[in-house]
């Protein structure tokens, strides 16, 4: 089951369209750096964090948890048979995290000072953000190192690859620890917001755990989703048996998540808020239904072999994870009455451009590098 480049043309109508979207985003980012954040985004003092933080960073890195989730499975749980899925997952993670980290720079008002967050003289250790920033930065480096073997393979650098392999177990261990830390901390970010986060989403003790579990769930789902997408997009067979087992893990992960989620709400006395919070109740239930959907779709083991069910469940899970984060960071963020926020067109276009870049790079990489497992 060795991986190999799938080959084919790089310049296609699809990649050209993606390139155009990237160009638009670059133009808008130029505007942002010359005129300030307000020139491109709708963020304001009521919603100082908008789409770029919620989507590009918080959701983007969660979507890029495929590598993390698979590493957890393969290296910690010692499930070698999942191995064919590791490389494509890792590639998606490399792009997801790198671009997530980059997006942070776009969003920083005083980006030229960004290095302060790595300088002990400036670091304020009580800040959750320090931990998030350090871990994400470190993890981006770790991801690239993890991806190096693929490059070395393509370039025929067998010596280098052999040397790297000897030390790789430490890198892999870090590659598991770091996402564990910061994916949970993305939840901890919200603790200091206090009453500003609606009771349906605020929780002191469990926010880190809920964010972590949902991130792992999204990691598994993104692997399934990508596999489905690749199988159709690149006309390749689907590794159904592997995905079938992954689906089983996902179901139990989600059951655990939902139990914890509702226990937490019950303990905090927020049960009433589930029904009495107007529009927020709607978003809460939409999110919950999306979380529950994979469990329903994949609960029967025989259903897990069906590609359609796998795809729909993975999609639901990704939507659930994303909505959970949007709910916690934006919709359930009660900054005080009178404030409005909806991303500006230009703001959305930048995000679209980043996603386009991610897809573009993925296409280029899988065509040129040994990422995807060799087809049977």
């Amino acid at each position: 089951m060795k991986a190999q480049p799938i080959g084919g043309r790089v310049v296609t109508p699809v990649t050209l369209l993606l390139g155009l979207l990237v160009a638009i985003a670059l133009y808008l980012l130029g505007k942002r750096f010359l005129l300030g954040l307000g020139a491109v985004t709708n963020i304001n003092d009521g919603f100082p964090w908008g789409l770029w933080i919620a989507w590009d960073v918080v959701i983007g890195t969660a979507l890029a948890c495929g590598g993390y989730a698979m590493a957890l499975l393969v290296y910690v749980a010692n499930k070698g048979h999942y191995h064919p899925l590791v490389r494509p997952a890792l590639l998606a993670s490399v792009f997801g995290y790198s671009l997530g980290g980059l997006s942070v720079i776009f969003d920083l008002g005083r980006w030229w000072n960004a290095w302060h967050i790595f300088a002990p003289a400036y670091i304020q250790w009580g800040s959750v953000m320090v931990e998030v920033a350090l871990c994400i930065a470190a993890y981006v480096v770790v991801l690239w190192i993890e991806f190096l073997p693929t490059l070395f393979e393509r370039l025929g650098m067998t010596d280098a690859r052999a040397k790297l392999d000897k030390a790789l177990f430490v890198i892999i261990a870090l590659g598991i620890l770091l996402p564990t830390m910061h994916q949970s901390s993305l939840g901890s970010l919200l603790v200091v917001f206090g009453y500003q986060i609606h009771p349906l989403w605020q929780s002191n003790q469990l926010l880190p755990l809920l964010f972590l579990i949902s991130a792992i769930g999204m990691g598994f789902s993104v692997v399934v989703f990508e596999a489905c997408l690749s199988s159709v997009g690149f006309q390749r067979p689907l590794e159904v048996p592997i995905l079938e087992r992954l689906a089983g893990i996902l179901v139990w992960l989600l059951v655990a998540f939902l139990v914890l989620r509702f226990l937490d709400l019950a303990v905090r006395g927020a049960v009433g808020a589930m029904f009495a919070s107007g529009a927020l109740s709607f978003w809460f239930w939409l999110e919950t239904v999306l979380f529950a959907l994979p469990v329903v779709l994949l609960f029967k083991p025989q259903a897990r072999a069906r590609r359609q069910a796998l795809f729909l469940a993975a999609t639901a899970m990704l939507l659930a994870g994303a909505l959970y984060r949007i709910n916690a960071f934006l919709i359930g963020y009660e900054t005080g009455p009178g404030w409005h926020y909806f991303p500006a067109l230009s703001e959305v276009l930048v995000t679209v451009g980043i996603v386009a870049l991610e897809i573009l790079a993925y296409i280029v990489f899988v065509r040129k590098l040994p990422v995807l497992p060799r087809a049977h």
Partner: protein, 372 residues
């Protein structure tokens, strides 16, 4: 040959037609009357067939009101009272003395029964049977009642006559009260102020002569044309108030620079009067208390003037400065816009469509596998 009444008046008063018309325009403006009213006033003042009789009573006063009228330049009061109205009784100005004056008053009241205008200057002491002010053996209360009985209109000039004014300052040793405390069965127009602005009085009289009735008044009897706005609203130093520039003490830097006098106890924010717009003494800009660096003492406002200590700060009655206050909750930030909503909807739609296609595609493969 019929002569134009204004020309007649011109000859009688020895004032030019131009200055007389200017005066009428000033009165019309004081009352905030529409264009054309000045001509109406001019005709009424000049053409009055018979000059209305005026009885002017002085009680607990300082003559300041009369004095301030004497300062009005365009037709001086003598002119006004002698040519426009017939002043039949006024202690300070009237030529007759003693019992002659007393007789003149009675004669005028009899002759103009139900038609004369009663003007009261000074407060009316009510304590101890009104003994604190006696004229010709009659108390002020008796005289007021007697003269008010057959008056066509009653004007209380000055704060003293309006509500007791200065003599009613706590503890009000003489029980000083205004005309409307004595005369309850007739409307009393009050022209408070210490002294009041002469034009507010003259305009009230002109209104009566022109339209045959007294001007619209507030619940305290004050003509609305003069007393419906707070001093604060028209104050020339308002910009300093809004900008937070205050004089802290008499003679300090802010005081010399003409800053707002609120901190020195200016009662402009709780006092209704037109002082800043019509000014005093025909001198031009700045000729009113605040203009000369002294806080308003609220002399037109019962309960403020002479009652509230000068250094005590005014309570603002007005919550709407020129630029409105921010509310506790203001709409801020950019909500849903058509462009971004359309884009987001488009992306979601495309994603949903693609997802559905994909799902169907995968479903077909499932079916193929099932068959296989």
């Amino acid at each position: 040959m019929h002569q134009d009444p204004i020309s007649t008046l011109e000859a009688k008063l020895g004032v030019s037609r131009r200055s007389f018309l200017q005066f009428c325009t000033a009165l019309a403006a004081t009352m905030g009357l529409p264009k054309g009213a000045d001509a109406q006033i001019a005709q009424a003042l000049a053409g009055a067939a018979k000059r209305p009789s005026v009885i002017w009573l002085h009680f607990q006063e300082c003559t300041g009101c009369t004095e301030s009228l004497l300062r009005a330049e365009h037709p001086t009061l003598e002119k006004l009272i002698l040519e426009i109205i017939s002043l039949d009784y006024h202690e300070s100005l009237f030529a007759a003395a003693g019992h002659q004056a007393e007789a003149a008053r009675k004669a005028a009241m009899e002759a103009n029964k139900g038609k004369y205008v009663l003007v009261v200057e000074g407060a009316i002491p009510t304590k101890d049977g009104g003994i604190y002010c006696k004229i010709g053996g009659h108390t002020a209360m008796e005289l007021t009642k007697e003269c008010a009985a057959d008056a066509a209109a009653i004007i209380a000039i000055g704060s003293c006559a309006s509500w007791g004014g200065m003599p009613s300052t706590p503890p009000n040793p003489t029980g000083a009260a205004g005309v409307n405390a004595i005369v309850k069965d007739k409307p009393v127009v009050t022209i408070p102020g210490c002294p009041p602005n002469p034009y507010n009085f003259l305009a009230t009289v002109a209104h009566f002569l022109t339209f045959g009735k007294l001007p619209a008044i507030d619940e305290k009897g004050r003509p609305l044309f003069a007393y419906s706005r707070l001093i604060h609203e028209n104050c020339e130093r308002r910009a300093h108030f809004d900008a937070g520039r205050f004089a802290n003490e008499f003679g300090d830097e802010g005081h010399r620079k003409g800053y707002c006098l609120y901190k020195l106890g200016c009662k402009g924010p709780e006092t209704y009067a037109n002082c800043p717009s019509i000014l005093f003494g025909d001198v031009g800009s700045g000729s009113w208390p605040v203009g000369t660096g002294h806080p308003c003492v609220g002399c037109t406002e019962q309960g403020i003037g002479f009652a509230k200590p000068i250094h005590a700060l005014a309570d603002l009655k007005n919550t709407y400065p020129p630029a409105s206050y921010p509310r506790i909750v203001e709409d801020q930030g950019q909500g849903l816009s058509f462009g971004s909503a359309a884009l987001v909807a488009g992306i979601a739609g495309a994603a949903a469509g693609a997802g559905a296609m994909l799902a169907r595609n995968l479903g077909r493969k499932d079916d193929e596998s099932d068959k296989a």
